[in-house]
């Protein structure tokens, strides 16, 4: 399995690059494109009217736009249901406001999106996964979460094992569901760490000052944490000193880095158009 993540500032062409790259990959093997931006645009790009979060684009090509808000609501209401059974009703009532708060807390969206991505990554039935991302920070979070979770579930297991040993002295041997849950999740984190660790990053930027500044910052942040597969200079024309700065810094930080230059088209590069075909051709040596 190969995992690509496409990042860059808003509007630079991330979705366009991610979608055309996926189209090329889908010719070689089963491909998933997943959007981790809250404002999805994969369906719009392919003119897909279907309302489901997961949709087929072609024979070997699946799209996935997970709804983070709905995912969070479901996650919390699942916890609420199970908690209701184990807590005394009085304490449960005390906890409900906390759960309500959590189910609307936007800082949880990235965690839900990570969970959705992790599911796909560890299930492993795709040859290629392309992630159309929202921000550099988000990708770095996705990459560091498995390690943090390994530590957390390791600690949880240690605590719980002591608890189970104590309980056994009083009440005899009993199955412990929390122990099994933590063991399962720890294994998942291990697998996610391994697979996401091999993620290849594609950075899209425009030859404008703001995009360039963000690119330089992002590359510093990514150094040592992710492989930079390629820099894509989109809407590029002629010589450009700013683009040179980015490439130079990229090669400084990551060693050999591919540079792909894509010109600005008169019309938007969508699938099935001449501009689209041309756009796609520029990405060929990424596959």
């Amino acid at each position: 399995m190969r995992i690509y993540a496409v990042g860059g500032k808003g509007g630079v062409g991330k979705t366009t690059v991610a979608c055309f790259l996926s189209l090329l990959l889908a010719k070689k093997g089963k491909t998933l494109i997943i959007s981790t931006d809250l404002a999805h645009s994969i369906k719009d790009f392919f003119s897909i009217k279907e309302s489901s979060q997961e949709f087929r684009i072609s024979e070997s090509f699946i799209g996935y736009e997970p709804d983070a808000r709905e995912g969070l609501r479901k996650y919390i209401s699942g916890i609420e249901e199970k908690t209701r059974r184990n807590f005394s009703p009085i304490v449960f009532e005390d906890f409900k406001p906390f759960l309500n708060f959590s189910s609307k807390d936007p800082s949880n969206y990235d965690l839900i999106l990570y969970e959705k991505l992790k599911e796909k990554v560890i299930k492993g039935d795709y040859q290629f996964i392309v992630v159309d991302t929202a921000a550099t920070g988000q990708v770095l979070k996705f990459l560091s979460l498995p390690q943090r979770l390994l530590i957390w579930y390791g600690l949880l297991l240690k605590w719980r094992k002591k608890y189970v040993a104590l309980r056994e002295k009083i009440k005899g041997k009993q199955e412990d569901e929390l122990l099994s849950m933590a063991e399962k999740k720890k294994k998942e984190a291990e697998e996610a760490k391994k697979k996401l660790g091999e993620m290849e990053f594609i950075w899209v930027f425009e030859p404008g000052t703001l995009s360039i500044k963000e690119s330089l910052r992002a590359m510093e942040e990514m150094k040592g944490r992710v492989k930079l597969r390629a820099l894509v200079a989109n809407r590029f024309s002629g010589e450009n000193r700013l683009v040179e700065t980015v490439v130079k810094r990229g090669r400084n930080l990551f060693g050999e880095v591919n540079l792909i230059k894509i010109p600005s088209f008169e019309e938007e590069p969508f699938p099935g158009t001449t501009q689209g075909e041309q756009f796609k051709d520029y990405l060929k040596n990424l596959t």
């Binding site: 304490v91 949880n108 957390w152 605590w159 002591k162 104590l166 009083i170 009440k171 849950m181």
Partner: protein
């Protein structure tokens, strides 16, 4: 909540899960530390793991005395902080 339900709920926690002596205390404490960590987040102590602590919630058996203990005596907090080092 109806009064009948309230009474039933109150006694469920008190008598539903009887343990004894020091072992009882330590066992309960271990269970409650996790919940306390979660509450600390809501009390304003930034806890990046709170989302994953929520996941633990359904597996804990908590009676009304838990709230009374942490609110009235705060006896869990020193215990909590003494074990806080070494994680994360």
């Amino acid at each position: 909540m109806e009064i009948k339900e309230w009474i039933k709920g109150f006694f469920k926690g008190t008598f539903g899960d009887i343990l004894f002596g020091d072992l009882e205390r330590e066992t309960k404490e271990r269970e409650e530390i996790l919940l306390t960590l979660l509450l600390l987040h809501f009390a304003g102590l930034e806890n990046p793991l709170y989302f994953y602590l929520l996941e633990v919630l359904p597996y804990l058996k908590i009676d009304e005395n838990f709230m009374r203990r942490i609110i009235a005596k705060e006896e869990l907090l020193p215990v909590l902080f003494s074990r806080y080092e070494g994680w994360a």
